[in-house]
């Protein structure tokens, strides 16, 4: 699986390269600024891009802008955005085209390499990886309809919105996958969402719902 990596701090960039190579990824390009990133994304068309939000030369949200621009040119290009901060506004922009294959995580999540690599794989496969901090903010704004959910269903919803698979949710909540499937069916009924067999579509529907 080929990755384009954009991170301006050399130490962190090398660490990420080492981590990704050790877990079976091939680094197509590792860049340290916005314009190079956009070029690398369009030229290499990687299976997934791992991008720091803040990049030179402007040190603003240049990484995010380059990722969004690349996705306009190469629709559905999987992008995992890393940041020192998570902003709902940016999450919303990443999710806006509704085609999935996006991730938005705090840089701290890299500490847990297993989870992080899992998130990269998920995004590469067209899924999503939303930081728990984004999701919990979305949940507090979810409003009235969410109060109809049971605590277990809320927990399921939160994990699902982060982009976890049913198996991962079952493992985290220490229940069977069938129990998770039941929770999910209940959530979709209570929130009036159209049921879909496709995991990624289901997650996008939930995120779109929370992101209203």
């Amino acid at each position: 699986m080929r990755v384009v990596l954009a991170e301006d701090l050399a130490l962190l960039r090398e660490g990420l390269v080492r981590l990704l190579e050790a877990t079976g990824f091939e680094i197509a390009a590792a860049v340290d600024n916005g314009p190079d990133l956009l070029r690398a994304l369009v030229d290499h068309r990687p299976d997934v891009a791992v991008v720091d939000v803040r990049l030179p030369p402007s040190f603003t949200d240049e990484g995010l802008q380059a990722a969004l621009a690349a996705r306009r040119e190469v629709p559905g290009l999987p992008v995992l955005v890393l940041s020192q901060y998570v902003e709902q506004l940016y999450a919303r922009e990443l999710l806006a085209d509704g085609s999935g294959g996006v991730g938005y995580l705090l840089k701290d999540r890299v500490f847990d390499s297993e989870q992080f690599v899992d998130a990269v794989r998920r995004v590469a496969a067209g899924g999503t990886a939303m930081d728990p901090e984004v999701v919990s903010k979305l949940m507090t704004r979810g409003g009235q309809p969410l109060s109809r959910l049971t605590p277990r269903e809320l927990e399921t919803l939160e994990l699902m919105a982060q982009g976890r698979s049913n198996a991962a949710i079952a493992q985290q909540m220490v229940v069977t996958e069938r129990a998770v499937a039941k929770h999910i069916a209940n959530i979709f009924t209570k929130l009036d969402l159209a049921v879909s067999d496709d995991d990624n579509r289901r997650v996008l529907a939930v995120l779109a719902y929370l992101n209203r």
């Binding site: 956009l38 949200d61 240049e62 506004l89 701290d108 903010k137 704004r141």
Partner: protein, 432 residues
Amino acid sequence: MDGDVGIIERIEASGRAAVRGLGLYLMSMVVGLLLFCLMVNSITMIGMGLGLFLVPVIGAKSRRYANKYRELTGRWTGTRIESPYLPEPPHRPGLTGWWNRTVHTLSDPATWRDLAWMVTDPLVACFTALLPISLIGMGIHGILLAAGLWVPIHELGGTQWYTFVPVSDWPTAITAGVVGLLYIGLGLKIARPLLAVHGRWAHQLLAPTEKARLALRVQRLTQTRSDAVDSQAAELRRIERDLHDGAQARLVAMGMSLGAIEHLLDRDPDKARLLLAEARQNSAKALSELRDLVRGIHPPVLADRGLVDAVRALALDHPLPVEVAAELPGRLEPPVESAAYFAVAEILTNAAKHSGARQVWVDVRHEDGMLRISVTDDGQGGAMASGGGLRGIERRIGTFDGVLAVSSPPGGPTIVTLELPCALSSPRISPS
């Protein structure tokens, strides 16, 4: 049809102007002259000692009256007149206090300009503010004569002269009526222009002189500068405290855990693993605290995208639905941007905490060199401009000559508006 409506509206406006002119004249004639006499008497009585107590009191009354007149003139004539008085020093008790206040009152040039105005205005107002209503009154008199009032007067043996018409029979009475109509027309025609003239006249004596304006400006700058320095210092203290109690303490704890782990690694690996998990938790918490701290100093979205998107981000994080309408074709100066951002954040926090609102609207725009932001909520109202939070915002934007206005009648809605004079730089060209 439109023309008719226009004419009726114009006549109404003119009539209003005439009545307002009468109001201003009466104020000058009654209150103004009275205060003038009292003030002059008080000053002459300083020698006897009594004036020492009268001058500050009557002076204060005169100022309140003159300020009322300034306000009315501003509202009615369109000529805004600012208050020219130098700020009063703090009152001190005893005789020296009275003496100081008397000296302050008499040494302020505005006091003497007020006096000059109070004694001349009744006369000047006769030709400006009062003239239109007099003409209209004369016109009504003419019409009354034409309506038959001339009959009893004539029967009692008098000949009523109406301007140049001796009214003694119906034809002359009708003429008087026609002349009266002309008077009314003339009175209405000149009412608004003359009221404007009166406004300019009042401006001559009531507005601050250039020197007074500068003195007031210096006073205001001194105040806002010290506010800015104070709030800056408080901010630094807060950051220092947050770092000390937060990230710094966690790093110390982490260091201690790591030291213990070093010792335990061989002897008690299970315990070491426990401490490692704790150390990792502390590092995550330290990071999240540093994040919150930075967000409070300089929010990332504000740095990345500017005010509008930063306010949008605030709206997304807000517990209530917030609708943002914004028109800002460019970036503001960073300090202004930051002040405006934190002001909006504070107002939104207040709305969430106190208003009981269900919806909030934020409007951001830049017009005539002025950044205007209004935050409206549909809560129960009753917010006070003097409340702690709003006072803090006022101080914060005061550094940039910004002003804050709050409208919050009981029952709502609450509208908080802030205005900051500032330039808009051309939009940043995005690198793509």
